[in-house]
């Protein structure tokens, strides 16, 4: 197993799939000549040429829709948004076109397309550039949504997304691009959609999370361990399809859970999981499931305010202690 960065993992995933299937191409702002705003597509223009690595004008609605049309005509576009904050301009094409093509055509046209790019907050990019938008995507049937949090997951899930015959939203993170990790070798390392992974085993409390938050969850679990609490960290990895089995099994074991997500909670991912679990694991739960998430405000610029607005390991520890009814406040 090679140790590579999350960025290289994404690059490998795209390059391998483009070598494997001539209909796969990459399109987005700065993906070619500039090697990607975050250098994810480094070297790909040279390797695949201008027809398959396409620099676009700044026109998110336009090139997202162009991708959907190309997919209907037989291609497999991989559309990069410089960040998903900008994709909001393209949501009409994602929600009203991509997500509904198969249904409205009665199965005649499917839409094998990937919309990928970073989401969530980096450092001090303030309100318009720091939004974690996974909940907005997961709301719409017709879409699949994945949130890789490690280099291995980035490669395996992006490859699965590109091979999938439905529209898949891939949510990455600026803060993860430099993250190093072991990634299995071989072109056929693919992680199927809908399979969660237990990133850490533990029997006392379950921390459910996804995307880059898994690292906060792991930090929290280490702090808890010092306190004699063994937390299990379940990384959903894929939000739609969602591996409820792994989740419910973990809760059947710990009877307590906390949901950690980067974004806002109102109409969020955590709220959905909690509502589903109180329905399907009602008798397994000894305490309410608490949620840890971004302050319910636009992201502020100032360092200290931003830190306070983001979910933190301390807040996760605090939530775990509360579902364990330890040091009550």
């Amino acid at each position: 197993m090679a140790v590579i960065t999350y960025r290289e993992a994404l690059n490998q995933a795209m390059s391998e799939e483009m070598e494997r299937d001539p209909n796969v191409f990459l399109m987005g702002e700065e993906v070619g000549l500039y090697n990607g705003a975050y250098k994810v597509s480094k070297g790909m223009l040279e390797k695949f040429g201008e027809m398959r690595v396409v620099d676009t004008p700044i026109t998110e609605l336009g090139f997202a829709g162009l991708g959907v049309g190309a997919a209907m005509a037989g291609l497999r576009p991989c559309i990069e948004f410089m960040t998903h904050n900008f994709a909001i301009l393209a949501w009409d094409q994602i929600f009203n076109s991509a997500a509904k093509v198969l249904y409205m055509t009665g199965g005649q046209y499917n839409c094998p397309i990937v919309f990928r790019g970073p989401t969530g907050a980096a450092l001090q990019l303030s309100a318009q550039h720091s939004q974690a938008l996974e909940a907005s995507y997961s709301h719409f049937p017709g879409l699949k949504v994945v949130t890789p949090g490690t280099p291995a997951d980035a490669k395996g899930l992006l490859k699965a997304a590109i091979r999938d015959d439905d529209p898949v939203i891939v949510l990455e993170a600026e803060m993860l691009y430099n993250l190093k990790g072991e990634v299995p070798d071989g072109d056929d390392f693919v992680i199927p959609l809908g399979v969660a992974e237990i990133k850490r085993e533990g029997g006392d409390v379950t921390i459910l999370t996804h995307g880059k938050m898994i690292h906060i969850a792991l930090q929290a679990s280490q702090k808890l361990e010092k306190d004699g609490v063994q937390a299990e960290v379940v990384d959903l990895r894929s939000l739609r399809p969602l591996d409820l089995e792994t989740i419910t099994q973990s809760i059947a074991k710990t009877n307590r859970a906390v949901y950690l997500e980067e974004g806002w909670t109102y109409a969020g991912i955590g709220a959905t999981i909690v509502a589903t679990l109180q329905e399907e694991s009602f008798d397994d739960l000894d305490a309410p499931i608490l949620r840890v998430f971004q302050a319910d405000v636009p992201m502020p610029y100032a360092k200290g305010l931003e830190r306070a607005a983001k979910p933190s390991a301390d807040r996760v520890v605090d939530a775990c202690n509360r579902v364990l009814y330890r040091n009550e406040r």
Partner: protein, 360 residues
């Protein structure tokens, strides 16, 4: 030549061009007449069915604009693509969809082109490359551009006709798409059906520039104006653009001036504060079907018997389509969850839904 085109919009001559009847053979001319009549009668039937509640939702009729679709498609090869909006019944038929599958879709039945899941605004056929039927104004413009991108990517010599109403021209999607099409030289022809009204808003109340074809200059794209009430002129202008797209991968913007004889949809008034009765009457006086029949008669290629035969054939076909649709069963309840995803991955939950919905 493309450059000359760019310089100024082509002035459409108000007849089929140099050769009489566009130099077309009688068979083709009759086919075009058949298509125009078929479109007209089909929609008259649809209107009846809508009136008695057999068709629901929104239903936008094409009556008055038949020459645009018939003329434009006469310039296509069967394997070319068409992408359009929600006023598309006739375009679907002319592209080659059967009146049965289209009517059944309007009825929301199992034998409809989309199994009854799409309805009037969402007609498609992968058999005849009709990528049709979109309901968000302007939403189809990037899609048509993407189809043309795929054609070029695969090295094919097909073209894509992308239709829109004039009101869609004001959407950002129009601007973004035309720039990419011209920048990347994509084989797409944007045909704006300027029937002057977007629902109840006259074009001059929605755009600061009246001449739509001139907007192509902002993208250094060739453009042309066609008389959308003259099927031969429509064919001639489209043909020039199609050749340019097929041979040189150069896109074109065509403004087809036409008239809407009906209200915006079945539930909207034909005239009122927004449009005078006279305006509608004047438009109807230029009925494209009548105009074409006269052209054919004068050209000596259409006898009364032939006209009668075509009309009877069309009538029978529409009758049959309506009966077929009426007899087609409603889609089964199990269809609710099919076609949401092409691949239901082995793992995980895809539908966040009460499992017992289908039972209750």
């Amino acid at each position: 030549m493309a450059t000359k085109e760019k310089a100024k919009p082509v002035e459409a001559s108000r007849n089929g061009g140099a050769e009489p009847l566009g130099g077309l053979a009688k068979e083709q001319l009759h086919l075009m007449l058949y298509q125009m009549l078929q479109g007209r009668r089909f929609e008259e039937k649809a209107a009846e069915a809508y009136a008695i509640g057999k068709i629901g939702g929104f239903c936008h009729l094409y009556i008055g604009q038949e020459a645009v679709a018939v003329g434009a498609f006469a310039a296509l090869r069967p394997d070319d693509y068409v992408v359009t909006a929600y006023r598309e019944h006739v375009q679907a038929l002319v592209k080659g969809m059967s009146s049965r599958e289209v009517m059944a879709e309007l009825y929301g039945r199992r034998d409809g082109s989309s199994k009854g899941k799409g309805g009037s605004m969402h007609l498609y056929s992968s058999k005849v490359n009709f990528l049709g039927g979109w309901g968000i104004v302007g939403g189809q413009i990037p899609l048509g551009t993407g189809v043309a991108f795929a054609i070029k990517y695969k090295g094919e010599d097909k073209v894509c006709l992308c239709f829109m109403g004039e009101a869609a021209v004001n959407q950002g999607a129009f601007h973004e798409s035309l720039n990419m099409a011209a920048l990347w030289k994509l084989p797409v022809i944007f045909i704006v059906e300027n029937n002057r009204f977007g629902m109840g808003t006259a074009w001059e109340r929605a755009s600061s520039l009246y001449d739509i074809s001139q907007k192509a200059a902002a993208y250094d794209m060739p453009s042309a104006v066609a008389d959308g009430m003259d099927v031969l002129d429509m064919r001639r202008v489209t043909l020039e653009a199609v050749d340019r797209a097929r041979k040189d991968k150069i896109p074109t913007l065509i403004e087809a001036r036409c008239h809407r004889f009906m209200g915006h949809s079945m539930s909207d008034p034909v005239h009122g504060v927004y449009r005078t009765k006279e305006d509608v009457e004047q438009a109807k006086a230029r009925d494209p079907i009548h105009t074409f029949i006269v052209q054919l008669r004068d050209g000596g290629v259409l006898s009364e018997e032939e006209l009668k035969a075509i009309d009877e054939r069309v009538q029978a076909e529409c009758e049959d389509a309506a009966q077929f649709a009426d007899q087609s069963p409603e889609p089964g309840i199990e269809e609710l969850y099919t076609d949401v995803y092409r691949v239901e991955n082995e793992h995980g939950r895809l539908f966040f839904d009460r499992k017992n919905r289908l039972e209750t």
